[in-house]
């Protein structure tokens, strides 16, 4: 396995694959164009970029792809964009690498206890689906799109309320699976019309593996709150 990917996958990780449904080896004319497409579609919410594209370093590239690897301590991330239109993104779960989240004051989490935040998860799905929607309308997109969000190495981590203004999750929901897969085959229109709704759908399915059920309104409000922090 790619050593950077191996490092990220040694702990909990988020993996996103976005691509058209049909394989065309050279869907995008050249790698320069790939870089421009990714830069133009990059999502920036609250100072967080998806994907992170360092302007100070030239993207790495080989015959059919461009990409970058970023190591900023708790921010470990790599992405690749292929001439076929395929986009791959792998990033560490930030809390596992030392990032300090603001949690509900009622949550009791030990220093070394792995956890997953509700707001953080919503944010991750929202970034990925919004980027997918943007990509679908570029030369990397197709009439039918494949979007997958995988969360791996969950272990038996707890789902927690990562909002200092909310109560804790009293039932202490715990992941019942080690890996989670959210996969959708969507038309370009469906993806472009409602990426935030699709992100809510993904997050809801994700929370279900913790045996945690939230109302649509609550999740929508939480999602909007994260996007406006």
């Amino acid at each position: 396995m790619n050593p950077n990917a191996g490092r990220i996958k040694s702990k909990c990780y988020w993996e996103v694959v976005i691509r058209p449904n049909d394989f065309v080896e050279q869907r995008v004319a050249n790698r320069h164009l790939l870089t421009r497409i990714v830069r133009g579609a990059t999502v920036t919410y609250q100072g967080y970029h998806f994907p992170h594209m360092s302007e100070n370093e030239r993207p790495e590239s080989e015959a059919d792809w461009v990409g970058q690897f970023l190591d900023l301590g708790s921010y470990l991330e790599l992405w690749r964009a292929y001439l076929s239109g395929q986009f791959y993104h792998l990033s560490a779960n930030h809390a596992d690498w030392g990032y300090r989240h603001m949690l509900s004051p009622f949550e009791r989490v030990a220093d070394d206890e792995p956890f997953m935040g509700v707001g953080y998860s919503l944010f991750r799905f929202t970034l990925a689906l919004e980027f997918a929607a943007r990509l679908a309308f570029t030369d990397m997109g197709g009439d039918d799109m494949h979007v997958a969000v995988n969360v791996g190495n969950l272990g038996k981590r707890r789902l927690v309320s990562d909002d200092p203004n909310r109560l804790h999750l009293r039932s202490e929901p715990t992941a019942g699976l080690d890996d989670f897969h959210f996969i959708r085959e969507l038309s370009r229109a469906e993806l472009g019309a409602n990426p935030r709704g699709l992100a809510l759908e993904g997050a809801k399915e994700f929370f279900a593996i913790f045996d945690a059920a939230f109302t649509e309104e609550l999740l929508k409000g939480w999602q909007e709150q994260w996007l406006r922090r």
Partner: protein, 166 residues
């Protein structure tokens, strides 16, 4: 910022004169001049279409800062509506100018190259298409057709990702 994908954040109260940014905050007198209405009036007078933003006062180390969250333009890129002069009557904004964030440098300038111009045009076009799709789907003019559950060319895509998959 408004001509930049997803807009941006401007923090008033940071001293950049020494090269690297230094948080110094605003005095009560300075803070008074950075009210929402004052800023909105100036921006409305010099930008077309008017740009939209949110205004917030935040405190850091006991000092107040004004945080402006500038939204990405809604339909068409924002242009300067009139000339504006800065210190020593130096022109800082040119009427009709289109200002963007430079690639690779934390600064705003008139579109410096064809790359930034293409990026801005692409953004405006994609926003227009997305808006049309959203409205067309909402109005029932576009009906989703089921996508193939498992694309025939799945294997080729997976082969590309071989080095990342366990």
């Amino acid at each position: 910022m408004a001509n930049h994908r997803d807009g941006g954040i401007v923090i008033i109260g940071v001293d950049e004169s020494g090269g690297s940014p230094r948080p110094v905050g605003l005095t009560p007198e300075e803070l008074e001049t950075w009210g929402y209405d004052d800023i909105a009036a100036i921006l409305a007078a010099c930008s077309d279409p008017t740009l939209s933003f949110e205004h917030e006062i935040r405190t850091y180390n006991g000092m107040p800062y004004v945080v402006l969250r500038v939204h990405e333009f809604a339909e068409v890129p924002i242009l300067a509506k009139k000339d504006m002069l800065g210190e020593r009557n130096k022109q800082i904004i040119r009427k009709g100018g289109c200002y963007v964030r430079s690639l690779g440098k934390p600064e705003t300038s008139e579109i410096p190259s064809q790359d930034e111009m293409r990026d801005l045009l692409d953004l405006a076009i994609q926003k227009g298409i997305r808006k049309f799709v959203e409205q067309a789907v909402g109005a029932g003019l576009i009906v989703y057709r089921p996508s193939p559950a498992r694309p025939a060319s799945d294997a080729e895509f997976l082969r590309q990702l071989g080095e990342f998959l366990r």
